[in-house]
Amino acid sequence: MNAVTPSEVMICAVANLLDGSRHIAVGAASPIPAAGAMLRRAIDEARGGESVRISILGSVDHNVFTNGSTELFDCAAQGRIDAFFLSGGQIDGQGNINLVGIGEYPETKVRWPGSFGSAYLYFLVPKVILFREEHTPRIFVDKVDFISAPGTSDKNTYRKGGPIALLTGKALFRFDKDKGSFDLQSIHPGHNLDEVAQATGFTFGHDDSPPTTSDPDPEILNLLRARVLEDLSETYPDFANKLRAEIAALSERTN
């Protein structure tokens, strides 16, 4: 078994979820999703597959859009983006996300930045991965105070996309579109079901003894620690340095 850091577990989980995606869009402030997308690209290239296109929003170097910030949304509408990431100040058991605030709108007692493109992209991008590293009942609530974007829509609403999974620092959930709720897929190493249940403010489906999020194959871990770390250093230098330090500390502990 390989020793892997918690960030690496999440990055590999993202890369698995992205299997089959050809164009992945990532927000500028999302190093773990970006690393997952870069790992997906590295895996596909190493296996001789088609190269994945990654668009990092707001980046000059990792973004080929030439029609301004509207182009991402036009691309999404036409099905030219396969996967995207969203998060939330609150995420509930129905897959609704809240990026606006806590309390009665508009004079919310806690105000977050706002919905960004979520109220649109959640409907149109086939694979939306919800990512929030902090896993607490403050974030994972029974019902969000404000719906920036709903997890599901009625059958008469035009909807080509939506959430497929929720990845946190403790676990990976799959979203069941028909039931409109989450099922626990696996728990990351070092965590357990009781802890996950206590940290989650909504109910979710699960096996009696859910599996552990699997460690990556040595081949994949090598790609991550070599090529992907190098790719990351250009765009997310602080995160790349932090990850390097975590890996170094881990190998010291295990030696």
Partner: protein
């Protein structure tokens, strides 16, 4: 240029990375203009936060307000809690659709998504209609035009005829097409005509849409200007720390701009 702005006008500002005319904050504060209706295309940051904190803004239409790595926009957050700001929460493509409706002088444009969101629920000016082109049920949201009285941004180059080069930052062109008037600061005003270089032409907003241009070197700072210079995150962090309290912001405004918070 700031003297052209009038009280109660609708002013459009670009997203942080697209070319923010930070250089115009001083003249806007000095002009005493107030009750601005800001539209952020499609999100707002430091520039909008300073204007809000300084008491110059009546309403805000945006899909988000953030200082990026430096965290939340402190004056915006305070104004939301106190109810001082009329907020029109939006989503990025709805801002773009509104500008495009204005560009084409249409009464509305349809936009996908949004149905079932609280963003839509709180926007009395947005409607759900049946797609008139099909028999089957197909609800779609329509949004009215966003026609700013002024669009304001910063770009690398202009010429003496008032043509402005924006490269691939086409949201700036969308802002200029939609607005009644457009005011621009640039790094450099060059002699000759930008259209003389055919390679530049696809990235030019012609003077047809431009009302005033002024030179302001490093006019986007602390924000960056694409390939020209980078963002000064540490300056944003300092602002976030100082503007955390109302008094801290008032001191910042006085020290940096010699301006007062209007009440």
């Amino acid at each position: 240029m700031a003297a052209r702005l009038s009280n109660g006008c609708k002013l459009a500002l670009p997203v942080d990375y697209a070319g923010v005319s930070m250089a115009m904050i001083q003249p806007i504060l000095d002009s005493g203009v107030r009750d601005l209706d800001l539209v952020c295309v499609p999100t707002g940051g430091l520039q909008a936060d300073i204007l809000i904190g300084a008491g110059r803004v009546r309403s805000l239409e945006t899909s988000a307000m953030t200082l990026g790595e430096a965290g939340g926009a402190p004056c915006f957050i305070r104004a939301m809690k106190s109810g001082a700001l009329k907020m029109r929460d939006s989503t990025c493509p709805a801002i773009h659709a509104g500008l495009m409706a204005a560009q084409k002088d249409l009464p509305f444009l349809p936009i996908r998504g949004l149905i079932g969101t609280d963003v839509l629920r709180h926007r009395a000016d947005w409607k759900i209609i049946q797609n008139p082109m099909v028999e089957a049920e197909d609800k779609i949201v329509i949004v009215p035009p966003i026609a700013p009285d002024f669009s304001l941004f910063h770009a690398p180059l202009a010429d003496k005829d008032g043509n402005v080069w924006i490269g691939r930052r086409k949201e700036l062109a969308a802002m200029a097409y939609a607005a009644k008037r457009t005011i621009v600061t640039v790094e450099k005003i060059v002699d000759g005509n930008l259209f003389d270089d055919e390679n530049l032409s696809a990235g030019i907003i012609p003077s047809l849409y431009i009302d005033a241009v002024a030179e302001a070197e490093f006019g986007a700072r602390p924000y960056g200007l694409w390939a020209e210079y980078g963002k000064q995150t540490e300056v944003l962090m300092e602002y976030a720390a100082q503007a955390k309290t109302e008094d801290g912001f008032a001191a910042y405004l006085s020290e940096k701009y010699g301006a007062e918070v209007l009440t």
